[in-house]
Structures are given as C-alpha cells and as structure tokens.
Subunit: 201 residues, 3 copies
C-alpha cells in the first residue's frame, strides 16, 4: 500500500481516538491535563503496548512524535470546543472516522508482528493496537472497558486481523487491504444493525 | 521435576484461572468476547507481565499457544454452561484446582527469574506470575483486586516463593516441590479456617 | 549533583509515596498485604514503567532493593500507626516531602532518558517516573487517577521536566537542579493558593 495513504489514515484514526479519550475525560470531570493525557493515551496507548510486547523499545510512538502531537492538539480542541458540540462521538461522521481508525491501527499493528512468524502474536498485536488505547482509556476512567461489554468492535478487529494473518503469507498488500476493509465494514454494519455478541443468561 | 508433570499442572492452573476470569466477566455483564478476553487474561496475564519485567519478548505465552488455546476453550465453555452451574467457583473442587494453579504458576514464574541471581526479582516474578492475571482481571472489571483485600492468597504465594528462593541455591528441584507444596497447603488451610490478614482499625 | 544527595532525596520521596499508597489501601479496606503492595507500587511503580518503556530490564527497582525495602517498611509502619495519625497526608510536612519526591523522581527519571536524545521520550519518562506510581495506586484502588482530576501535580512535573529537557543540552547538572526546583515550588505554590487547571464547562 502507498505509505502516504497509510500515514494519512493513521492520522485520521489518531484524531478519532484522541476525541474519544478527551470526551471520556470530560465526562469524568477531569481537568485539562487529564483530558490531554486520556486523549493521547487512547490514541497511542495500543501501539505502545504492542511495542512493549514485541520488545521494540522505546516504542515507535516516541520515534514519530507526529501522532502524539496531533493527539495533544485534538484533545485540547475537544476541551475548548466541548460546549459547541463539534466533536460529537454519537454522530455518523465520528463513527465513520473511528471505524477507519480501528481498521488502520489493527492492520498497522499486525504488520509490526509479521516478522515474528507467529500467528497468535500477529493477531494479538493487531487487535491490541486497534483496541488497547480504548481499554487504557476506560481503565484510567475506572470504567469496565466498553469493548468487553457491547458492540461488535474488538470482534471486527479480531476477524479482520485473522483474515490478514491467513492471507499475508501469500500477498501482504492484498492481506492488509482486505483485512482493513473487513474491519471497517463489519464495524459499520454492526453500528447500522445494532449487532451485539451474546451474553450469558 | 518431570517436565510433563509441570505442564500437566500448568494446564490445570490455566483451566482454574480461565474459569475465574470468565465468571467475573459474566457477573459484570460482559459479552462473549469480553468473557474470552477476561478468561485468557486471568490465565496468561501474570506470565506476560513476568516476561516483560524480565525482558523476555515476545512473552512465552505466545510461543506456546497451548495455554491461550486452553484458556479460550474453557472461557467459551464457562459461557455456554453458565446456567448449568458446572463451573462453580465457590465449591471445593474449584478451590482445589485454583490452589494448584497458584502454586504451579508461582514456582514456574520464580524459575524463570532464577538466572538473574537477584532474590527480590525471583520473589517478585514468582508472585506476579501467580497472582498477576487475577489482578488484571479485577482491574479490567473495575474492581479492587481481590488479592489486596481478603483471603490468604497472594500471601501463600509469597511465603512459598520466599522458601523456594532460599532453598534453590542448594537444590532447585527440591526447592520447587517444597515451595509449591507450601503454597498449596497454606492456601487450602486459609480457605478451610477462613484465615485473614489483619486490616487497619 | 552530589550522588549522595540524590539518593537521600530519592529515599525521602520513597517514604512520601509509600505513605500515600498505604493510606489509600487503608481507606479501601485492603488487608496488610494489600497495604504493602500499594505502598511499594506507589513508590517504585513509576520507575518500573519508565524502565520498561526504555527497554531496561529487569527494571532498576530490582537492582537497588533499598527503595523497595524502605517502601515496605514504611507501608508496614503506616498500617501499624494508622490510628495514631502520625502519617497525615493532609498536613504541611507530608505535602513538603511529597513535593520533594515528585521533583526528585521526575528529574531522576528524565536523566534515565537523556541518552536517547529524544525530547518527547525524556519528558515522558520524567513525568511517568514522577506520577506513574500514583496512577497505578489509583488504578488498583479503582479510583480515577487523582492527577487527572485536580491539583497542579502532574502539571508541575511536566513544566519542570520540559525546562530540564531544554537546558540539559548545555549543562545537565544545572538543568537537573533548576528543573527540580521548578517542580517543587510550582507544587508548593499550587497547594498554597489552591491552583487548579480548568475543566470543561
């Protein structure tokens, strides 16, 4: 895939994730610094956990500070414009960029694990990159991680990364595009049709 | 110790820990994926933290996917059979395999730290392997970690691993068997006689 | 800076942080082991996260067990003397040693990152060393991390470490003393004048 397109998609994902972190911080009545920390954590936390698991230190997030910088600016804007309802995490546009972010982060994460040749590890680091920041956000906010409770969110990430892992042995580019597309559309369909995984009775 | 016996005991521990994770997820009304993630985290989370602390990346859990696989299957079965009360975490049989798991995980974890020659580190990685998964389970479920609050659980792990650490310089096999036995029986006695550590007044 | 002075200041910080961890554990009705774990985690947790991010394994806390040992003893004393109100985290003396600890931990943490030559990383590991233990304390206690919510605490750490990072290229000793002094006085002034960061409306 064209590298510039990947970076562009990653930046969109960074924006979406930073907004969701900042919004949760505002709901929890955190102060400006808490808002910024939660926004940045949600945006880059998944990638940091991935790199620690893979033994890549210091994590890539610190080598390419563009993502942290964008997350910081977006968190600050979310704080400033909170009463303007510009960033509304319930509207269709937000869901669109968030689903894009989930797809791109998962596949970028999985690519970082490919050289290990270990299927379990590729799937784990892919999904962790996609949803790990959101889990950290919820842990810091003392909430049950939303991905454990409702919506086909981590599930979309998981199914897409499994597809990626199976196909990447033959054609990595195709696998990346296909895997990412699966995640994006599964997530979009889940939102449209209110899909839920079963719970215990 | 016979390596096959260790693997057998580790698998029993994996079953016990996965059940406890899945049960907490069900109580917290998580969905099927949340149940599986919490089951797997409880089973292999302690070992992953241990390996990150020791600089072993990627962590062993990904190199030997048998444990993750077993934890996944058990989590799924716990979900399926939840209303059948087959896995009852309050009965004697469950407590028995959970105590076995605590003992085996602690000693296997401590063995991974032995080459460092650092007593503090051996004790820390042993106890972390034994109880770390349970702490992650409770953090994800927004609960105060149960091991900080009641029951002689981490305490049993700690006393056993200290014994192991002191004896292993002379005879590692003996230390492992003795340390594990101490943990198992301390935990069993604590349950039988309702031992509790003191709290502040 | 004289190395003995740094160790002395670090030990003071260790005492302050261990007391705050033990106090939170007592409020949350944890038992003696929980109190000790929370005290030690608050004291050395930030440094452990820093070392994991920097790829220093096993973390320094295990190489120099003096800090864990002091934190253990102080946690135990906090438990023993809880009803004597000797360690009162609301009085002026406690605030004084806590501010000292924040300053020293932040700068020591930043120094560990200097060799990376990466400004973002130096700032991150500095602040993480200063406040990371407190965040772990609050996560384990299922609380929203206090540093995300009120008081100019992480903010003081952040401003001081930015000053350090900018100055250390010219004179590392001066940068350390200046950065630490800024943190200490910002924190002291914040407490005296009840400074708060803004929150969203």
């Amino acid at each position: 895939m064209e590298i510039n397109i990947v970076i562009f998609l990653e930046l969109i994902g960074t924006v979406a994730f930073a907004v969701s972190g900042a919004k949760v911080a505002i709901q929890e009545k955190m102060d400006l610094l808490g808002i910024c920390i939660l926004g940045v954590t949600t945006a880059v936390g998944g990638g940091i956990i991935r790199d620690i698991i893979l033994g890549i230190t210091p994590p890539a997030a610190f080598q390419q500070p563009i993502y942290i910088t964008v997350a910081l600016i977006i968190s600050f804007l979310t704080f400033l414009l909170d009463d303007k309802k510009i960033f509304n995490i319930n509207n269709r546009f937000y869901s669109f960029i968030d689903a894009l972010g989930l797809a791109v982060f998962t596949i970028v994460g999985a690519l970082a694990g490919v050289s290990s040749g270990n299927m379990f590890l590729i799937i784990f680091v892919g999904t962790t990159t996609g949803v790990g920041g959101g889990v950290m956000r919820d842990v810091f906010a003392s909430r049950n991680p939303i991905i454990f409770q409702k919506n086909v969110y981590a599930t979309a990430s998981l199914i897409g990364v499994i597809a990626f892992t199976l196909i990447q042995k033959y054609n990595q580019n195709l696998a990346a595009i296909l895997g990412g597309t699966i995640i994006f559309f599964l997530r979009a369909l889940a939102l449209k049709f209110n899909w839920e995984l079963p719970k215990a009775k």
